[in-house]
């Protein structure tokens, strides 16, 4: 079942086009990784879905309801902004139990129960009675996630949910998001490609307001990841570098780079050129320490599609 549907979304800020005909769908029970460089339009998309911004053209639906400032879709929605802000004079408990639960119309007993559960879940139980003004950025992000989960949402929008967390907090948060898969459709925007590889079922890569790729994570890796070879010699770096340069004219080799005695070879395809490179390595006269096919990463895909300068590379 489709939980989020976005069709031809366009957003202009004066003359700047933030979204340019963006379309995608997120199914219930999946975690959708929304990737893109800075200014690609990720936050704008999430704000439109949360009913805080209006599209210049196109439409989006959450659970079948058109999104907007007064849309009923907000009842089913949990939204964590990139930098969640709170009333500094409220305590964490007051904010969750009395304010957020009240906005969703939860009965008092349910509000108390959910608040206790959520504070425990996000690791803020010990500071439940402390005013938010004294919270660190990481604690605010945890509280932000707690408020987004208050109504047990069927659709969860997370804008850079782990950006302010330390490594342990990041791991906990990712496990939490992963566990939500069975209960909600999660749309998560992030810059951290490792996180997407770890927990997302589908990945959408957006650039200049357009979706340049949207696919199952593994299918995307298979389709776009460039084959790499990593060869490590037991030899002097200068000799290794000189040998690496001889690979450049070889058919099927797209790029070569070296670091100390290690050579990275990017191939144009999987047409047997790896065997040719292996033969050349053995024939080099240097002792080969290791020879392996590098595992393609989402970073390879991302950089190939988006490029370092933000240009799409088909």
């Amino acid at each position: 079942m489709t939980a989020i549907r976005v069709e031809g979304l366009r957003k202009e800020f004066h003359r700047i086009v933030a979204l340019d005909g963006l379309s995608f769908e997120v199914a219930s029970g999946t975690v959708f990784g929304f990737l893109g460089p800075n200014g690609a339009g990720k936050t704008t998309t999430l704000r439109i879905l949360a009913g805080l911004a209006r599209p210049s053209a196109g439409q989006a639906w959450v659970e079948g309801h058109p999104v907007g400032p007064e849309s009923p879709s907000r009842q089913a929605l949990g939204y964590l902004p990139e930098e969640p802000r709170f009333y500094p004079w409220m305590t964490a408990t007051e904010f969750l139990r009395d304010y957020i639960a009240g906005l969703f119309g939860l009965p008092a007993s349910k509000a108390r129960q959910r608040t206790t559960e959520l504070l425990e879940l996000v690791g803020l139980k010990d500071v439940a009675r402390r005013r938010v003004a004294g919270f660190s950025r990481g604690m605010r992000q945890r509280l932000g996630l707690a408020q987004a989960l208050m109504n047990e949402p069927r659709v969860l929008l997370l804008d850079e949910p782990v950006s302010a967390l330390d490594p342990a907090g990041r791991r906990d948060m990712l496990l939490l998001i992963e566990a939500l898969r069975s209960k909600a459709a999660v749309l998560m925007s992030t810059h951290i490609l490792d996180d997407v590889e770890r927990i997302c079922d589908r990945v959408g890569i957006v650039n200049h307001g357009r979706m340049v790729a949207v696919e199952e994570r593994q299918a995307l890796l298979d389709r776009y990841a460039t084959p790499w070879l990593e060869i490590e010699f037991r030899s002097e770096a200068a000799k290794v570098k000189a040998w690496a340069e001889t690979l450049r004219p070889v058919a099927g080799v797209a790029d070569v780079s070296t670091r100390e005695a290690q050579v990275r070879v990017r191939l144009e395809g999987t047409d047997g050129s790896d065997q040719q490179v292996l033969g050349l390595a053995v024939a080099s006269g240097m002792s080969v320490e290791s020879f392996q096919h590098a595992r393609p990463t989402l970073e390879d895909v991302f950089l190939r599609l988006v490029g370092t300068g933000g240009e799409v590379r088909p």
Binding site: E70, W89, G105
Partner: protein, 252 residues
């Protein structure tokens, strides 16, 4: 709606706004009858006071005490009514709390209405304390007046202050910074003050309400300023609706 109002009232309390309004209006309520009673003696006791000044200064009467009390509460109340709501919407838009709240299933109208109602409660408490203090001091220093008239004065003052509070709330909704909101609120107040000098227009403005209350408090038989009263009762919700119309179109 109940939750939004609870949040607004708690904010008024914890940010000391309620305390500030109560303290300022309370002190002004005491100072009104006090200055009316002792101004002449105070002036006479100051060395170098020009001769004959006493003759120019008004006699301390109960009417003067009520007039001083009304002026104090209206003037200082006006400043507070413009200052208190100035940041209430624009501040929340800037900080991001408006976005967090309005991504939940609440209407933007309820968001604004809660702010107006909290303002009403704050000023009702402030005016109540100011008038209570003023009534007591007037009674002790001059004469005890019928409390019914003070109730009319309280209603007149409250409507007058709520009107300017609504104006400031609208400015806070329309503008993109607190400074711009302040400029708009004070500018509109100035324009209304100038318009009030035109007799035909002045009768429709809420500025006449404190004067009506003052007359009622001193026991004078005065005609109810229906035009100003109806105008205030229409304009306050009108300003709220105008703010809602603007907020509905805004992105947060």
């Amino acid at each position: 709606m109940k939750v939004l109002l609870w949040k607004e009232l708690l904010e008024q309390w914890r940010s000391y706004r309620l305390l500030a309004v109560a303290a300022v209006l309370g002190v002004m309520g005491i100072l009104g009858p006090l200055t009316a009673r002792y101004m002449n003696e105070l002036m006479a006791s100051i060395p170098g006071t020009p001769e004959g000044l006493e003759a120019v200064l008004p006699e301390p009467t109960v009417d003067l005490a009520v007039a001083e009390l009304t002026d104090n509460l209206a003037q200082f109340g006006l400043i507070l009514a413009l200052l208190i709501p100035m940041a209430s919407v624009v501040g929340e838009k800037h900080s991001g709390t408006a976005g967090l709240t309005l991504s939940k299933p609440v209407s933007r109208f309820a968001f604004l209405l809660a702010k107006l109602l909290a303002l009403l409660v704050t000023f009702a408490i402030g005016v109540g304390i100011g008038l209570g203090a003023g009534y007591t001091y007037t009674g002790m220093l001059f004469a005890w007046l019928p409390p019914g008239g003070f109730l009319v004065l309280g209603c007149g003052l409250l409507l007058y202050l709520l009107f300017y509070g609504s104006l400031s709330l609208l400015a806070s909704t329309l503008m993109r910074s607190q400074l711009a909101a302040a400029g708009m609120a004070f500018g509109l107040t100035l324009v209304l003050g100038l318009l009030g000098t035109i007799p035909v227009v002045g009768t429709y403005l809420p500025a006449g309400l404190p004067g009506w209350g003052r007359a009622a408090a001193t026991g004078l038989a005065v005609e109810t300023p229906w035009k100003a009263l109806v105008a205030a009762l229409v304009l306050i919700p009108g300003l709220l609706l105008a703010g809602w119309g603007a907020l509905r179109r805004q992105e947060l």
